[in-house]
């Protein structure tokens, strides 16, 4: 089962592809740097154009059912007090990425942050005040160069787990996801073809749950075995790796995706991101968003339908209410009556519920009764 392919062949398979993209990315960086140099030597105000990653520059493509990024760009000038620091960081991180590509190595986002972190000579100011600052700039570079994070030889912290009747080849190593014990297969940050390849798959669908704790419940009850499905988890808002993997399972293996998330604005937003894409990463929607994903629960009506006790109620606070109204107003929700009803019902309830609330009925209620019943009744939100 877990037979390994010879190392050289997997190296060769990847290298041709990656060499091509590497050269392309490197070229983009050099062009960016050369432009700055050219502008400097000509003594004109140097700038970098970065596509805007904001709600205002994001639009919902109703036909493709995804979020897309618009054409607005933000010009980042050196000689503007508000932008000078970001300009410097952009150039600094571009150089870091070029060094990485040339060395043929990859780094985590945090590693990249440390690589470019130092105190500016003669001052007490650091190049970055924290990893968030560098992460934001790196996303800018991705967009500006039209290169993906993996093209820049960067990856994020691993998050998310998978188990189910499927065999994957990760960097050449064959992994049987049916035999992953209690821990499951840790979904890597980069799930591109060439790095992760799918082998034999018997699954009929994918069940994505919000968190690790719920995932463990399903795994222990061998839900995936009984129902012949792949079971994934994204530790809250799923990272790009998990979303990319779900996208590929859906598009390449034609598996429907069902999501089991909390009944709160946060859970609804996670679903929205999986289904339509996020504002921040709108430029990658076409390779991340799954417009056909389905929302299985928890539903606002479950409090009565499942006869839950008052103990599971968590009161909605002002921010939740505001957020819920905001979500209800998203163009991809606004025309969907069932969703409007769902959000209204939650607001009327005045409380939210976590998936774990079903455990108050019975330890295995969620795996043995709730999800099978929903699937059988084809009771979900699109």
């Amino acid at each position: 089962m877990a037979a390994k392919k010879p190392t050289d062949s997997r190296g060769a398979a990847r290298s041709a592809l990656s060499e091509r993209t590497d050269a392309q990315t490197r070229k983009g960086i050099v062009e960016l740097g050369a432009r700055v140099v050219r502008q400097s030597l000509a003594e004109t105000d140097p700038f970098v154009d970065v596509p805007l990653r904001s709600l205002s520059n994001t639009s919902f493509n109703a036909r493709k059912r995804l979020l897309e990024m618009g054409d607005s760009t933000q010009r980042r000038n050196l000689f503007n007090t508000a932008q000078a620091r970001k300009f410097m960081q952009t150039v600094l991180l571009s150089k870091g990425c070029k060094d990485l590509i040339e060395a043929g190595k990859t780094l985590s986002l945090r590693g990249m942050y440390y690589m470019s972190l130092h105190t500016i000579p003669g001052t007490r100011e650091k190049t970055f005040e924290g990893q968030e600052e560098s992460d934001g700039i790196l996303e800018d570079i991705e967009v500006a160069l039209e290169a993906l994070r993996e093209n820049l030889h960067l990856f994020a912290k691993k998050r998310g787990t998978m188990v189910g009747p499927i065999t994957v080849r990760d960097n050449g190593d064959e992994i049987d996801c049916r035999r992953m014990g209690t821990g499951g297969y840790a979904i890597p940050s980069i799930c591109e073809p060439g790095v992760v390849e799918f082998g034999k798959c018997d699954a009929k669908f994918v069940l994505h749950v919000e968190k690790d704790t719920v995932w463990s419940r399903f795994n222990e009850d061998r839900f995936w075995e009984k129902h012949n499905c792949i079971l994934t988890e994204g530790s809250g808002q799923p990272p790009r790796g998990v979303r990319r993997l779900l996208w590929r399972l859906h598009h390449e293996l034609k598996l429907p995706i069902y999501c089991l998330l909390d009944c709160d604005p946060w859970g609804h937003y996670i679903f929205s991101v999986i289904k339509q894409g996020s504002i921040n990463l709108a430029f990658e929607s076409s390779r991340l968003a799954i417009p056909d994903a389905k929302f299985l629960g928890i539903r606002a009506e479950d409090y009565e339908r499942c006869e839950l006790t008052d103990d599971v109620k968590i009161e909605l606070n002002d921010r939740d209410i505001e957020r819920a109204k905001q979500i209800a107003g998203y163009p991809w929700f606004v025309d969907k009556k069932p969703w409007q009803k769902e959000i209204q019902r939650m607001l009327r309830n005045g409380f939210k519920m976590e998936v774990e609330s079903l455990i108050t009925k019975d330890i295995s209620y969620v795996t043995e009764e709730y999800v099978p019943a929903r699937l059988k009744a084809r009771d979900w939100l699109e």
């Binding site: 140099v37 400097s40 050196l78 000689f79 003669g122 007490r124």
Partner: protein, 643 residues
């Protein structure tokens, strides 16, 4: 001697009338006019004031102490200046018991001749200043005797005076006890000393000691504040103050010339009221009305006399004895109509902007000072002149409302601020136009000291205790104009300071990142970092120089004006001193070595003080660094760059 006449009951006639109508069994209430006459007698002024001491500023123990010191110091300064002596005044307050203090004020003035001592210190309304129109601190001749009287009343202790009029003269020590019913003083003891060099090293001077019920407290409206402000308004005087806790405070002289002597003037016809006019007519020695007008008033020429007389329909040769009430009233009305020149203003001796600035410099630790002086003007026939000074920034507290220092004839006014014309003029002025914040009907905010000085031969106080200047339209208008003139300069300064700060910050930011950018560019493209660095540095310069240019073109005109203005002083080393006290932000490097990435324009944000950190403004035991007309900070303050 002015006296007040009263009967015990004002309603004498009423009492009589009712007595007649009610023949009751009760004893008739009223007394006869004869009986009442026995109760009607003269009241000595001193008795009146003894009962109404709040009118003179002795309302409470704390204020009594201040008023005592103030009256004595005012007298000393007046005497010294009149005698042409640079004043040196020592104030000592000793505490006898919890509420009893002994106040001693000593000056180096001309001294008082022996026979006048009991009059000057023992009688109310006795003095040289009331009957003349000449600018001086004292006016009525009430103050010091009232202080002595208050002391006697509260402690039973007499006033002790030591005075010496010259080197060869003996010093007289006189102990005086005031008799309030007679407005006279009795001499308790009298001693003659041959020499008293320990008290009067210059051979002349006066010392007065009064024991009184009082309370000593520092802070607002205290003796300390009074002396501090007096020192500001009298930079030619030096003061020493020994407080009850034996701490010694000294204010050194910062101007070595005495202010010029004020000229005495005759009253201006417009400043006279009808009653006064009639009184003057009764008393004059002139024989004809024409000569009376010309002799007794200023600015009345023969032609003006003719005009007045014509208008009043009297001949200007009419004998004075034949001018009755009707004629006097006609003349009075004529005076209001006929065109008369404004009174001469050489009777006014303002401090002058230079002395005013040096006074402020001595007492206020600010970074910017401006002063302005208005030409003399007239209210009700009295000439007056307004001068103001502004002090801004430096170590002044940033969050508090502006402090207003009010002066009349160089005397600080500490009470009744809101009743004072100067306060109203500050509120009336739109300080927002000069870059300060100001809420409705209040003083501007943020590190500002406003000094307003009115000089006049007759300052219109709202009460005898001389605490607030009456609100005449003419006075308020002049005050506002003066404040506006000084305020405009402050506005120019503040605008410039803000712009310089902004530009400095801007250049700082660019220069900080240029090194990083050029190194990264070398890493990406291989272009030598030095080349990019030099290009970007040049670019940064031109980018910010554009702003510098503005300074040079439009800004420089302003700047030259400010810097060459004799009425402005800028102390670069104190700029933003109040902000420096707070922790510097991370963006400001602590030490900035001269590196390649930091070209010549290195400007330390933390001021390097060459002078030792001086004592806080309240206790300047050492004279504050005194720098008039020093335009550049020695070590590259804000104002050096951009040139």
């Amino acid at each position: 001697m002015p006296t007040l006449v009263s009967s015990k009951d004002a309603d004498v006639s009423d009492a009589k009338a009712t007595a007649g109508k009610q023949p009751e069994s009760r004893k008739p209430r009223g007394s006869t006019a004869e009986e009442m006459a026995s109760g009607q007698r003269e009241i000595a002024v001193s008795e009146f004031f003894a009962k109404n001491r709040h009118l003179l500023g002795f309302d409470n123990p704390r204020k009594a102490l201040l008023t005592t010191v103030k009256e004595a110091v005012d007298n000393s300064l007046d005497a010294c200046e009149e005698a042409g002596i640079l004043p040196e005044i020592t104030v000592e307050i000793g505490q006898k018991s919890e509420t009893r203090f002994r106040v001693t004020i000593r000056d180096n003035g001309p001294g008082i001749v022996r026979r006048q001592i009991e009059h000057v210190f023992g009688r109310l309304l006795y003095g040289s200043k009331f009957h003349r129109l000449k600018m001086s601190r004292g006016q009525q001749g009430i103050g010091i005797s009232a202080a002595g009287m208050y002391g006697l009343m509260t402690t039973g202790q007499p006033v002790v005076i030591v005075s010496k009029t010259g080197k060869q003269q003996p010093a007289h020590e006189v102990i005086l006890k005031m008799d309030t019913s007679k407005n006279r003083a009795d001499i308790v003891k009298e001693t003659e000393h041959a020499e008293m060099d320990e008290l009067f090293p210059q051979g002349h001077g006066t010392q007065v000691t009064i024991e009184l019920e009082a309370r000593y407290q520092k802070g607002r409206q205290s003796v300390d504040e009074y002396l501090e402000q007096t020192a500001i308004a009298n930079p030619h005087a030096c003061f020493a103050f020994i407080a009850p806790d034996a701490t010694r405070l000294e204010f050194q002289r910062s101007v070595k010339e005495l202010p010029p002597e004020a000229k005495e003037i005759k009253p201006h016809p417009r400043g006279i009221e009808l009653g006064t006019l009639i009184q003057m007519i009764e008393r004059t020695e002139c024989r004809a009305i024409g000569s009376f007008l010309q002799e007794e008033f200023c600015r009345v020429s023969p032609s003006v006399t003719r005009a007045i007389c014509d208008h009043a329909k009297v001949k200007n040769t009419t004998t004075i004895g034949r001018i009755g009430h009707a004629e006097a009233e006609a003349i009075f009305k004529a005076i209001q109509v006929v065109k008369i020149m404004a009174p001469p203003t050489d009777c006014l001796v303002p401090m002058g902007t230079k002395a005013l600035l040096s006074g402020l410099l001595r007492g206020v630790r600010a970074e910017f000072f401006s002063a302005s002086m208005r030409p003399a003007d007239v209210y009700r026939g009295n000439p007056f002149q307004i001068e103001v000074g502004l002090a801004y920034g430096g170590e002044l507290p940033k969050e508090e409302p502006a402090r207003i220092l009010r002066f009349a004839n160089r005397v600080p006014l500490l009470y009744q601020q809101s009743a004072c014309c100067s306060w109203k003029s500050v509120i009336d002025t739109n300080w927002r136009a000069y870059g300060l914040s100001q809420s409705r009907d209040s003083a501007p905010e943020g590190g500002l000291v406003v000094m307003i000085h009115m000089v006049s031969a007759w300052v219109p106080f709202t009460s005898e205790s001389k605490e607030a200047i009456a609100d005449y339209d003419e006075i308020r208008k002049e005050m506002k104009l003066a404040l506006q003139e000084a305020g405009r300069k402050l506005g120019i300064y503040l605008k410039r300071r803000a712009r310089m700060r902004h530009e400095t910050d801007r250049r700082d930011i660019f220069e900080r990142y240029i090194g990083e950018i050029s190194k990264a560019c070398e890493g990406i493209t291989g272009t030598p970092a030095k080349k990019v660095f030099d290009a970007l540095t040049r670019l940064a310069k031109t980018k910010t120089e554009q702003a510098d240019q503005d300074l040079d073109d439009e800004g420089n005109v302003v700047e030259k004006k400010l810097e060459q203005d004799d009425n402005v002083v800028i102390l670069a080393e104190r700029i933003g001193a109040a902000e420096q006290a707070e922790a510097p932000t991370d963006l400001i490097p602590e030490v900035r070595p001269t590196k390649v990435s930091r070209p010549a324009a290195a400007k330390p944000k933390t001021p390097k003080r060459s002078t030792p950190p001086a004592a806080p403004a309240q206790t300047p035991t050492v004279p504050a660094p005194f720098r008039v007309k020093e335009r550049k900070a020695p070590e590259g303050g804000l104002f050096e760059e951009g040139k």
